[in-house]
Amino acid sequence: MSAAAETALLRAPWWLKRHETLLAIILAVALVGLGAFNDRFLTLDNLLNQGRLMTEIGLIALPMTFVIITGGIDLSVGAIVGLSAVMLGYAWKTFAFPLPLAIVFALFVGGLAGFVNGFVITRVKVPPLIMTIATLALYRGLAEGVSQAHSVRGYPEAFYVLGQGDVLGAPTQLLILIVLIVVAGVALDRTTFGRALYAIGSNETAARFSALAVDRAKLVVYTLSGLASGLAAVVLVSRVTTTRMDMGMGYELDVIAAVVLGGTSIFGGAGTIWGTVIGLVMIQLLKNGLALTGVKGDATIVVIGAALIVSVLIASSLQRRRE
């Protein structure tokens, strides 16, 4: 285990809370500031709409938090989104599956892709970064091969409820995300599974010697990562009404940015779902708020990049001052 993870966790009770509080304060200040510039920013409509737009990244960020807490990483999530989306269209159109079955099939493919990652990582002991960098290329390639670069369109209207409709006045997928946030948060904080993830990320050998099912937990985590990517694919297809093999390209970096900004240690052993959610919301609303204030897209990217570095810098320097 790395020394950095150790220091990170030695401070855990203090700095975890602190990082999130700090982030939440930065977020609140930014919101109020941007809101003052533009009266269309802090409206329920806009906020709910932003919730709709960030759902896919959010869905993947939840298990990515798990993965990173175990000290791993999954770079193949974007490619799994593409593969699952293609499989959804393929099953529906070519296999003529009924749509619900096609959705289940897409989720299954996503889960399977994640399972393959986890299986090779735990059995062959390929480092996660290497494994998922390789499957990033492989899964995207499979998506292209299976789809033959064809888009699938013309899904039944009812399907669009998921990606474009509202339930109880809020975007359908946002409600799904909120439910899953709560589930993931409770699972990480309150269950033996969550505890095992922290133990694995802090000291995998000790976790194994404490009779924790280390390999099984890792397998589950990567499978969940694939499954969530599959779900994100279904939501995305429903939102944009079409299937393309290049869907989800580059998602991995957006997801990791949200998780890391939320205070999860890239070395493993520390992090929370709540932090990830704040990180996610922060990036999304920063982008949106800046856009509404008239900042152009390229400049917004610069701001996001700087915000990522600066906020992690502030959090860790505060942490160091405590020492």
Binding site: R190, T192, A196, N203, T205
Partner: protein, 504 residues
């Protein structure tokens, strides 16, 4: 008379909230081994870190050859001839022996290039000078045993022409044989006029190798003695401030039915057909050299490397132990050898470490009952008298002995039937050691079957009802308590005797 090589006077060191050292003085002369003794947390580590330039002292002075010196970094100290060999050996596993020795000051050829031929020749010369013949300059360090790695560290210190060598618990991880070889090296260094600061918990060792001893307690200087003028009882009293009557409080308890019966266990490459029985209430000592397959056997029993062949019966029932989870559910507990790596999740709190192996019992439908978890940890802290400010403290911040109590404690929460202890008191101070031994006795009295691996022969002999000796992956000898003498057991470990001898 010459000034001492190293003279430490009235050293003071304060960390925020803690006075780590107060008024500590000692000196080391050329060709002398000066021991530092004290319980964990007594300030030995801080002291050597100050002397070796890792920390700067807040008061007092350090004299090298009678001249006051200030080290602002370990390099400074090294330049002044002070080298330190830490407990956790600081080597580069991917690199060769020769390269590890000369890393940072390798001989150069033209254009700043490293002269690999010279590196190798000089490393071989160093090896030869200490008559180390079982180590080659080209070996990859990652593949070496602990004893060998330590020799590499010593060679590295010598390559700097160190005149003062600080050794922090050099024998903690060594087998008897390696200890003997280490002492040979230490005597050779003495002969060359090197001054050695030697830290160890093993009193018998100090009487063998040290010339003088300085005892610390709670960061303060207690006193110095010539080894020839003192005895263990006095030193222990100086260390703990009270008398400890018996280091091995072995109580005889009735021995019951077999708990573990293993038949012909095989796990390539280090477990080659082992059969053994451990009964309820019995403490079985497992002796052997490092590399004899003791820890590997323990890991087979605990399912980390499941047996490829053979049979395990627990309380008469044939079971398959193919994972640690299976072992735990069958009532087997394993306190591993390497506390920092295998035993403890150091950044996690005491609370979470205590519950780690018992999460299943503490949870319902996968949800942890936090109140019960806290109750359990607090009860554990009390029962094992773990010294910690709160159960929320990170376990890694506790002293070695307290860490070991947590590792032990987390397994006892499961009420195991078979307890496998691998070096249960390594790196643990005298007081905690006695507590752990007492605990073992209590557990045996409660009917737990205990298999104890130890490299410390007195511990094996003092605590065991029966002693098994392992060599090259097989059990080669068995002694009952009455016949287990250090000569007999030691001889069997080294391979002196015939095949499996039974002295009954």
């Amino acid at each position: 008379m010459n000034a001492p090589l190293l003279d430490v006077r009235n050293l003071e060191k304060t960390f925020p909230g803690v006075r780590a050292l107060t008024g500590v003085s000692f000196d080391v002369r050329a060709g002398e081994v000066h021991a530092l003794l004290g319980e964990n947390g007594a300030g030995k580590s801080t002291l050597i870190k100050v002397v070796s330039g890792v920390y700067q002292p807040d008061g007092g002075e350090i004299l090298i050859d009678g001249r006051a010196s200030r080290f602002t970094s370990p390099e400074d100290a090294k330049r002044a001839g002070v080298a330190t060999i830490y407990q956790e050996l600081l080597l580069f596993p991917e690199l060769t022996v020769a390269e590890n020795i000369f890393l940072g000051h390798a001989p150069r050829a033209g254009f700043g290039r490293i002269d690999w031929r010279a590196v190798r020749t000089k490393a071989e010369a160093l090896l030869a000078s200490l008559e180390i013949d079982d180590l080659a300059a080209g070996q990859i360090v990652g593949s070496l045993s602990v004893g060998h790695r330590q020799r590499v560290e010593i060679l590295r210190a010598l390559s700097h022409d160190a005149r003062i060598l600080i050794m922090d618990e050099p024998t903690a991880a060594l087998t008897e044989a390696d200890v003997t070889r280490l002492f040979g090296i230490v005597r050779r260094l003495k002969g060359r006029g090197v001054g050695i600061v030697y830290i160890s918990h093993r009193l018998d060792e100090l009487f063998e190798i040290a010339d003088r001893v300085t005892v610390l307690r709670d960061g303060a200087y207690v006193g110095s003695r010539r080894m020839a003028d003192t005895n263990s009882a006095e030193l222990v009293q100086m260390m703990v401030g009270r008398r400890i009557e018996n280091l091995f409080p072995k109580t005889l308890v009735p021995i019951g039915a077999p708990v573990l019966e293993a038949q012909n266990l095989v796990c390539h490459p280090m477990t080659r057909g082992v059969s053994l029985t451990v009964r309820s209430g019995e403490i079985v000592g497992l002796a052997g050299l490092v590399g004899s397959g003791r820890s590997e056997l323990a890991q087979v029993l605990f399912g980390i490397t499941p047996a490829e062949r053979g049979e395990i019966r627990l309380q008469g029932e044939a079971v398959r132990i193919d994972s640690p989870e299976a072992a735990r559910s069958r009532g087997i507990a394993y306190v591993p050898e390497d506390r920092a790596v295998q035993g403890l999740v150091r950044p996690m709190s005491v609370l979470n470490n205590f519950s780690l192996a018992a999460l299943g019992a503490l949870s319902r439908f996968g949800f942890i009952d936090r109140a019960a978890e806290r109750r359990m940890a607090e009860a554990g802290v009390k029962r094992f008298s773990v010294k910690t400010s709160s159960v929320d403290e990170a376990a890694g911040r506790l002293s070695g002995g307290n860490q070991q109590k947590i590792v032990l404690g987390k397994w006892l929460a499961n009420s195991p039937k078979l307890l496998v202890l691998d070096e249960p008191t390594r790196g643990v101070d005298v007081g905690a050691k006695a507590e752990i031994h007492r605990l073992m006795g209590d557990l045996a009295a409660d009917g737990v079957a205990i298999l104890m691996i130890s490299s410390e022969l007195p511990e094996v002999l003092g605590m065991s009802d029966r002693v098994l000796v392992m060599r090259e992956g097989r059990l080669v000898a068995e002694f009952d308590r009455a016949h287990a003498t250090s000569e007999a057991v030691g001889g069997a470990m080294m391979g002196g005797g015939a095949n499996r001898e039974r002295a009954a």
